[in-house]
């Protein structure tokens, strides 16, 4: 588990798979989730294998999550925002036709 060395300060509230998380502002969704102890953040469309952020710099695309209803967002490239809804991505994304 990641531990933070940050001095306590203001937080923003995001939701991950419905559960509320109070996280420090100004960091990526991926960093926030990992610091909060989240393990897998998606399952691959083909094999259903669990995946989590790997490179944290936007090149591996393993950290794909659903953010505010939009799928396939790179969690490491999006900054947390108060009220943000994050969901783990299970398989292929659903579009409502």
């Amino acid at each position: 588990m990641f531990e933070t060395r940050r001095s306590p300060g203001p937080t923003v509230r995001i939701a991950f798979d419905g559960a509320p998380l109070d996280v420090a502002p100004g960091q990526s969704v991926a960093a926030a989730l990992l610091t909060a102890g989240v393990g897998a953040t998606r399952r691959t469309p083909d094999s259903g294998a669990p995946r989590a952020p790997y490179c944290m710099i936007g090149v591996c695309f393993d950290c794909l999550v659903v953010i505010d209803g939009q799928s396939n967002r790179q969690a490491c490239m999006v900054t947390v925002r108060d009220g943000m809804r994050v969901e783990s991505q299970a398989g292929a994304s659903n579009i409502a036709p």
């Binding site: 588990m1 990641f2 531990e3 933070t4 060395r5 940050r6 001095s7 420090a24 100004g26 960091q27 990526s28 960093a31 926030a32 990992l34 610091t35 393990g39 897998a40 953040t41 691959t44 083909d46 094999s47 294998a49 669990p50 995946r51 989590a52 952020p53 790997y54 490179c55 944290m56 710099i57 936007g58 090149v59 591996c60 695309f61 393993d62 794909l64 396939n72 490491c76 490239m77 900054t79």
Partner: protein, 467 residues
């Protein structure tokens, strides 16, 4: 629809920041485009506001980025942060998206400064949650002040020792450092040492890092075989063989590193010619001494042109900007050369360490090309080394036919995490030089863009219903 600049710089790492500030100082209308929220690239990530209570943890070199960021902020550069570049056209138009809207930016000259990424280190279980790169550990430290106590670090190369040193200064316990540097490298590197000594204090810094690691009593394990990440659903332990005996270290975090390679996707999709660098074990663009690529109007600066380090990147950026200013008629060639002379000299000096470092930290062949068939090579599409070997047995001549037959390289990362492995695997299986194998044919969008955003880049007046 298009906004026109004299020069567009893509990437706000040391090369990009230096290029943009220099260009602006020479009177060029300059735009700097970067996908992060703040400047710094990777090496100087979060330089303007790392949340660590004690920034000394990150080391003195990190602070050099502050001057560059300051110069950028104080300049007249149009700095577009949180903006993703997805294409560069032959007409020097740059497709960008920001906040869900896409547009085109045109510039007379483009400097690509997209930096580097870590060479993949495919081993059994490397796709498990809990396995990340050493660079990812650094990002967690720099942007979230977070460490993973009890982690295992594995691989070779200066960046690995750097992050271990940063963890030590942060007081985070380290389960082990598994150093996979081949023992024989020292013999290959030794002849290059005299030249390396002329490169300033790189070596001294490196030796200091190793000394600190030894003094801190970090468990360092060398001479291992069969490195593997073990666990179901999440990493639980790291396994390895040593002296014929199998051992495991329990941990929930494994940070891997075996060097960095140029991030070539945007340059390749823009049509720039590349070649395989057998010493750096990666693809790099063909550039002249000013960073000019094979595409007229496009220069490449920094690690994206070939690994040279942060100081060389800064020099590359300045040189590319000077050259662009000359090309655009803003300064005479003689003026450009006069200003560039000390930069070229500093660059030559800083590069002297490279052959030594490349030889000393050259990763083992079997760490770059997995021996076991069940190791995943293409993470995006779950394609294993065995799948690739089976397709090669059908006579696939190279990575593009391989991609067609196996989907390897078809995922959203567009080969960033599998390309170098695939190139070397094909060379090994076919018994041909790596340089002859070739690489994936890359096309825009180099980063995903939505259909709606793309549709929005049509010239106004085009109706979607038109034939």
């Amino acid at each position: 629809m298009t906004v026109a600049y004299d020069i567009a710089v893509i990437g706000a790492g040391p090369a990009g920041m230096a290029a943009a500030a220099t260009a602006d100082g020479l009177g060029l209308a300059t735009v700097l485009i970067d996908e992060q929220a703040a400047p710094g690239g990777q090496i100087y990530r979060n330089i303007e506001g790392a949340p660590l209570a004690d920034r000394a943890v990150l080391g003195a070199d990190y602070e050099a980025g502050a001057a560059l960021a300051g110069a950028l902020r104080g300049s007249g550069v149009d700095y577009l942060d949180t903006t993703t570049v997805w294409r560069v056209t032959p007409e020097n138009e740059i497709g960008v998206t920001r906040a869900g809207a896409a547009r085109l930016i045109s510039a007379k000259h483009i400097v690509l400064a997209t930096g580097a990424l870590e060479r993949p280190m495919p081993l059994p279980g490397w796709t498990l949650p809990g396995v990340m790169t050493a660079g990812a550990a650094q990002v967690m430290l720099k942007s979230a002040a977070a460490v993973a106590p009890g982690a295992v670090f594995a691989g070779c190369g200066p960046l690995l020792y750097l992050i271990v040193g940063q963890y030590l200064r942060a007081g985070a316990p380290i389960a082990a450092l598994i150093d996979t540097t081949p023992r024989t490298n020292i013999w290959r590197a030794a002849p290059l040492l005299p030249r390396a000594l002329a490169a300033g204090n790189y070596l001294a810094k490196g030796l200091a890092m190793m000394r600190d690691i030894r003094r801190a009593g970090v468990r360092v394990i060398r001479g291992v075989d069969g490195l593997a990440a073990l666990g179901e659903g999440h990493l639980r332990a790291v396994g390895y063989s040593r002296g014929g005996r199998r051992a495991t270290i329990e941990t929930e975090h494994l940070f891997l590193h075996q060097g960095i390679v140029a991030n070539v996707n945007l340059a390749m999709a823009a049509g720039c010619a590349h070649h395989w660098d057998a010493r750096q074990l990666g693809w790099r663009p063909a550039c002249d001494g000013w960073g000019r690529s094979s595409v007229d109007g496009v220069s490449i600066a920094g690690d994206g042109a070939g690994i040279g380090g942060a100081q060389v990147a800064e020099l590359d950026g300045r040189l590319a900007a000077l050259d662009a200013a000359c090309r655009l008629g803003r300064i005479e060639a003689a003026e450009r050369d006069r200003r560039a002379a000390p930069l070229h000299a500093a660059r030559r000096r800083d590069l002297r360490i490279r052959p030594f470092l490349e030889a000393l930290y050259r990763p083992a062949d079997d760490q770059r090309v997995p021996l076991a068939d069940d190791v995943i090579v293409c993470r995006c599409e779950d394609v294993t080394a065995g799948d690739i070997r089976a397709a090669l047995a059908l006579g696939c001549p190279g990575p593009n036919q391989l991609k067609a037959f196996t989907r390897c390289g078809m995922g959203p990362c567009q080969g960033r995490l599998c390309g170098p492995t695939v190139t070397e695997l094909i060379a090994a299986e076919r018994g041909v030089p790596v340089a002859d194998v070739g690489y994936y044919r890359l096309r825009p969008p180099v980063k995903p863009v939505t259909l709606g955003e793309l549709a929005g880049t049509a010239p106004s007046g085009d109706t979607p219903g038109g034939a």
